[in-house]
């Protein structure tokens, strides 16, 4: 295959990626868009096997190793993607992004070892960039995975002098980058990789749980840029196009996500260093809360005219999507006006809750976005908050020290009655106390969301 034909097919794959991103931006075409992207990626991968540079012959060297490695990747990747619970999908995306960054860094290292002293300075600079950003994306994504999987604390991790350690690591990383460019050696490159991995960890540790999705999106954009840089080193137009597309669209997406959460990107990344210490939550623990029985909840609902359901991640964890739909259907059959108030970041990622409710066949016309539903709370008799906390926490408006300060919230406080379905008094993902729990018009129903909802449904049926 000539270089011209090879490049032309690469360009076709690049166009597929553009169409894929375009398609993914509208619900109607999203699935088709993703499939177009997959076709583009397949074309791009297959065509490499049929092209060799001048003076070299086909098949590719190490063909057995290459095909074997692809098979291993498929065997690991496909079942992971198929079997993952929808609730755990954000951490899987983080992990996939991380391994992509790792792959880009490894490609850059191999090419560097291969070129040896013949590498030109621009190529070395691109290599250094790929190694730094790829390693940061890899280790940073692992930390976001651990946070989302709750294998480590979801709170911002800040240690004394943290910002100096981070600044020091960054300086050392950049210093060793310069060293690699000047000295051209294997050891400096490995030191650079190690420092970059460390920086990735330190970079993500101070980010609070609720902001993790923004960081995943940012690291995703980073990985895209490393792919573009690899494209430069390997002289592949396709990699430059694909990587740049992801880098640019990922940056915009990151900004949009941050806006949906009412956060500035800067605040997300460095907020933990500037925020004042949180007010002591200890004093609040002794205050009385009003807890009710499923029957109390059913009675309250039976006499309501308008009910807004606010689902949160707790609902998904309890796998209660179907039960909540049953409750909603029952209320509608009793002539009660029912809507779901969906916070843009309900769940663990923007749009995550919509996916989870769609899985339970909740009709779209009942899902109301935050802007739609907020003005209606004043006319709402009962707001049922199921396994959500941070997205209704008034601290986002009233307490400048809180990590979620500035995030738009669902204003359930304006409803006549509030019911919280909670497992315990434990604070939400962002780790802050919710004043609303102590409000006199709030009733708490403790227990597993699914079990509680089932009891409420049967109590309501008997009324």
């Amino acid at each position: 295959m000539s270089y011209f034909v090879y490049s032309l097919i690469g360009l076709a794959a690049g166009v597929c990626f553009i169409l894929a991103l375009k398609g993914l931006s509208t619900p109607k075409t999203a699935r088709r868009g993703n499939i177009i992207g997959a076709i583009g990626a397949t074309i791009a991968t297959v065509v490499v096997f049929f092209y060799s540079k001048e003076g070299e012959s086909l098949p590719l060297n190490n063909l057995g190793w290459i095909l074997g490695a692809i098979a291993v990747g498929v065997i690991i990747g496909v079942p992971a993607a198929r079997k993952v619970q929808m609730t755990q999908m954000p951490q899987l995306v983080a992990l996939f992004n991380g391994v992509g960054g790792g792959a880009a860094a490894l490609v850059a290292i191999v090419e560097y070892l291969n070129l040896g002293d013949t590498a030109s300075t621009p190529v070395v600079i691109a290599t250094v960039f790929t190694v730094i950003v790829g390693c940061v994306s890899f280790s940073g994504s692992i930390i976001t995975f651990l946070k989302l999987q709750e294998l480590m604390t979801t709170r911002p991790v800040v240690f004394p002098g943290g910002r100096f350690v981070i600044a020091g690591t960054l300086a050392a990383t950049l210093g060793s980058a310069v060293w690699v460019v000047i000295e051209l050696g294997t050891n400096p490159l490995l030191i650079l990789a190690a420092l970059s991995l460390l920086f990735g960890v330190l970079f993500v540790l101070p980010v609070g749980g609720a902001d993790v999705p923004i960081v995943i999106s940012l690291l995703n954009a980073f990985t895209g840029l490393t792919v573009a840089a690899s494209g430069y080193v390997l002289d592949s137009t396709l990699l430059i196009i694909a990587g740049t597309l992801v880098g640019a669209s990922g940056t915009i997406l990151t900004r949009m996500m941050a806006e949906a959460m009412g956060r500035s990107l800067f605040g997300t990344l460095f907020g933990a260093f500037t925020a004042k210490a949180q007010e002591a939550a200890g004093a609040a623990d002794d205050r009385p809360v009003r807890s009710g029985s499923p029957d109390d909840v059913a009675i309250l609902l039976n006499y309501a005219r308008r009910v807004v359901i606010v689902p949160g991640f707790g609902l998904a964890v309890a796998q209660a999507q179907h039960t909540v739909r049953e409750l909603a259907d029952l209320m509608i059959s009793k002539g009660i006006d029912v809507a779901y108030g969906i916070h843009p970041v309900a769940g663990r990622m923007p749009g995550h809750m919509n996916v989870l409710l769609a899985e339970a066949n909740v009709p779209y016309d009942q899902l109301a976005e935050m802007e739609e539903v907020n003005p209606t709370f004043a006319q709402t008799d009962v707001a049922i908050v199921i396994g959500a906390n941070d997205v209704v926490n008034p601290a986002a408006k009233t307490s400048p020290g809180a990590p979620i300060y500035g995030m738009p919230i669902l204003e359930v406080a304006n409803a006549a009655n509030i019911i919280f379905l909670k497992r315990s008094m434990r604070p939400g993902f962002a780790g802050i106390e919710n004043e609303l729990l102590y409000d006199p018009k709030t009733m708490l129903l403790f227990g597993d969301a699914k079990a509680s909802l089932t009891k409420v449904v049967s109590a309501l049926k008997n009324l």
Binding site: L24, P27, N61, A81, M86, V93, Y232, P350
Partner: protein
């Protein structure tokens, strides 16, 4: 490739990337991120190229690792995005926004 050609491709791709996702409802933020994530799995192409011209065992070992990671990224990414989007398919009586 000519440096100016590379810079042109890069700059134009930046603008295309900005344009295509300029208006996305928050509902689709997660699938879009996941889809973009799968696209950068195309680094697999780079991993195969370096595996082809690996001369030492170290180089081959590292490129095999890169191929495995890139394949997981690409294949897993597209599959998980498709699973997410499957939920958005229009249903009887309901209508997709």
């Amino acid at each position: 490739m000519e440096p100016i050609a590379i810079i042109s491709i890069f700059v134009l791709a930046v603008f295309v990337g900005f344009e295509v996702v300029s208006k996305v409802s928050s509902t689709l933020h997660t699938p879009l991120m996941s889809g973009a994530n799968a696209i950068h799995g195309v680094i697999l192409v780079g991993a195969i190229i370096v595996a082809d011209h690996s001369k030492t065992n170290l180089e081959l070992g590292l490129s095999v690792a890169a191929i495995i990671l890139a394949t997981i990224n690409m294949v897993g990414g597209f599959v998980v995005t498709d699973r997410m989007l499957e939920m958005f398919k229009p249903k009887k009586g309901g209508e997709t926004k």
